[in-house]
Symmetry: C2
Subunit: 121 residues, 2 copies
DNA sequence: CAGTATCCTGAAAGATACTG
DNA sequence: CAGTATCTTTCAGGATACTG
């Protein structure tokens, strides 16, 4: 139950908005989860199924961080633990815009990058 | 003299433009160097002086990667090793646009982030 | 000034087994 | 289905000394 406000738990290196963003969500997985949410995925298993292959413990941890940061909303049907749904908050959608910017840049500037052939699922 | 095309040397996890971008420049330091270049810094020592405190070996390594990726140009006065100048290539400036997008997002969405008080140097 | 070369450590990630 | 709990590994990053 360790209290950690920020992202991957790193210390904030400076007040630079770029450095802070990196310290918050600049890890290997967070933005890919945001991507999946943008694509309409809502469930734990769907994130797990993405081709990059995140581990369950990492996914769980990142979802909690994103929730704590106010980017992700978790709707839990808690007595039936099988209907949990994740979605982007308003704030998370703004982060999603940034993720889309990254996608746009990647598509234009990195050879052999393509949008997911599964069309979002 | 190990040959590594990509960024931090990670394997490409997928063809997703977001994942590839992260694998390429999604580490703790690369985009901060791009930031410094945007701010007009050109010399090794200037990057070292940034408040986040990058180590010499990491800086050296990242500059090489960014150069190999075509984002950074190194103008070396090689017999006088004291006049090396780094700058963004055309391609690097496009990456710079992405970095600015991150800065904008950070400024709007992360409390207590501010632009560098040193005004770019 | 602009790096290289080592050594070392911690934390992030990965693998796996298990649970309500 | 949606996680938790461990254990292990790796490797990116940090510290430091040295060099042309």
């Amino acid at each position: 139950m360790g209290r950690r406000y920020r992202g991957t738990g790193r210390q904030r290196r400076s007040n630079c908005p770029i450095a802070c963003t990196l310290d918050l969500v600049g890890d290997r997985w967070s933005l890919l989860i945001v991507r999946d949410l943008l694509l309409g995925k809502t469930r734990f298993d769907e994130f797990l199924a993405s081709e990059e292959g995140i581990a369950t413990n990492i996914l769980s941890s990142r979802l909690k961080v994103l929730e704590n940061l106010g980017f992700v909303d978790r709707k839990g049907d808690d007595r039936d633990g099988r209907r949990v749904q994740y979605s982007l908050t308003t704030s998370g959608k703004l982060l999603g815009k940034l993720v889309q910017g990254i996608a746009d840049w990647g598509l234009r500037n990195l050879p052999q990058t393509t949008l997911a052939p599964d069309g979002g699922k």
